[in-house]
Amino acid sequence: MSLAYYPGCTLKTKAKNLEEPAIASMEVLGSRLEEIPRWNCCGAVYSLADDDLIHQVAPVRNLIRVKEQGKNEVVTLCSFCLNTLKRANLLMKEDAEKRGTLNSFMDEEIDYGGEVEVVHLLEVLKDQVGWEALAQKVKLPLRGLRVAPYYGCTLLRPREVAIDDVEKPTILQELLEAVGATPVDFPEFAECCGSYQIVSSPDDIPKYAWHILNSALTHGAEALVLTCPLCDYNLGQGQKELMKKHDGFDGVPLFYFTQLLALALGLGPQVCHFELNYGEPELLLREKNLLPRVEAL
């Protein structure tokens, strides 16, 4: 089966460790993530101003590329892409007037009316692959690895584009269980990491990060699992400073969900690119005997 796939620019420049394990894992699970042709940056942040239609052009154009492929679904990996594409799609479905303006502005493209569904890879794993089928393909169960699922904002908010229950999401926990890891719940699972405030008030970010990381550790986690390159950056880049500031904090590994998936499917570090992660994940994995020796692969 081939799935139309929208990568987004961050995955191409900064987050190979999110993309490569996803593509390789889906191959193992019998699906091909096929990059849509001629895609454009989605703009990353959904524009909230009602009359700012020009910033809807980029996400809608991407949806048109999917429709052109004869597909009715597009898969994303990055939470921000999901959020932006899904909300722009909703606008095209529900607001006839803006739909008309955007279609007439893009008069070189085919008309679009929200025919494509935007889904996250987690949803594909849950609804199309199925947790049980996934569990059966696991070669290296991540036994004994205690991981806190961190959703951040954009997978769950606003409600109309959430991929799971807004208050009590379980999709990441379900994935962790399917790959044999132990999910560790903690109250800050959907607390904001600071998002793009990193640009305007970078000094505030470590406070948010500490709040989230410390809570996960206190609840018994050894690592966090996430879906978003921006969360990864905000929770990761300040860890060295936090170690100096907080006695006894040695940093905490951050994983993308696709890395844990790939590792469990037996794909190994060449695919997972742990070297790009924050918090020295390889130390933890070695400690847990979860890092296959390179020679053994």
Binding site: C9, K12, T13, R38, W39, N40, C41, G43, I54, H55, V57, A58, R61, F105, M106, E108
Partner: protein, 260 residues
């Protein structure tokens, strides 16, 4: 020709005949003023016919220098059209204006200090990320380049793709004149192609070897010998040279292997 016409005044017939043979004149609007110009001229020649004299906005007259970017519209059509004035022939009623130059930001860099990291491109041209995917650039390109897609490739850090997509760019600047994000696409593309050529494409080692051989004088003797021949000897040498047969395969080699 009818008998009736035959009976007409021969002078009148001649004038008519002359008119019939003369090139048809068509109306075009140059910079908003109406002129009648001969059909079949290029926009550039039509402007010269109308009295314009180019000191800018004209270079190669062959569609390769990018000096003659032109925009035009036809009555009743909201679409803006683009052309190279030296290539496009006039059409009746077109409204034409040249955009021979458009101010565009070009970053300064020392090429030798650049690697092939996409971050360098982002650093030199941060306005890259102001692109909103309006596609006005693509519509404005007389070379048919997918300008928006090439910009998208740059944002994705894919310098090779940007270089290949923009390969036919002649730096006319029409894309830049239309850009909502105020990008100077063609300068960015030029940087991409430079990086692609110098850092990404593999080097042609055999060329370097050949140049070295030439410099070391490997062919000096043969050249001197040729230079010393008179016309007759040259002709003879030419006619008697060893020619690769039409049916020669990949592995054909000449008998004289001195210069291989």
């Amino acid at each position: 020709m009818s008998v009736k016409e035959n009976n007409k005044n021969p002078a009148e017939t001649m004038v008519k005949e002359k008119k019939r043979l003369a090139v048809k004149l068509i109306p075009v609007h140059i910079m908003g003023k109406r002129y009648e110009v001969p059909e079949g001229l290029t926009i550039m020649k039509a402007m010269e016919y109308a009295g314009y004299r180019f000191i800018r906005g004209c270079g190669c007259r062959g569609g390769t220098c990018g000096a003659c970017g032109t925009v035009y519209r036809k009555p009743g059509d909201y679409k803006l059209q683009v052309a190279l004035a030296c290539q496009k022939t006039v059409e009746p009623d077109m409204y034409v204006a040249q955009i021979p130059f458009f101010p565009a930001n070009r970053a300064e860099y020392k090429f030798t200090e650049l690697t092939s990291a996409s971050e360098e491109v982002f650093g030199l041209y941060p306005e890259l990320f102001r692109c909103v995917a309006c596609n006005a650039c693509t519509k404005a390109c007389p070379q048919g380049i997918q300008v928006m897609d090439a910009i998208a490739a740059l944002k994705q850090g894919d310098i090779s793709e940007a270089a290949l997509l923009s390969f036919d760019c002649i730096q006319c600047g029409l894309c830049t004149s239309r850009c909502l994000g105020e990008l100077a696409q063609y300068h960015m593309f030029q940087l991409a192609r430079r990086i692609y050529g110098a850092r990404i494409l593999s080097r042609a080692e055999h060329l370097a070897e050949m140049v070295k051989a030439v410099e070391e004088g490997e062919y000096e003797e043969a050249l001197e010998k040729l230079k010393g021949m008179n016309e007759e000897e040259l002709k003879k040498a030419y006619q008697e040279r060893e020619v690769e047969p039409v049916s020669a395969g990949e592995d054909w080699r000449p008998k004289d292997k001195r210069y291989l």
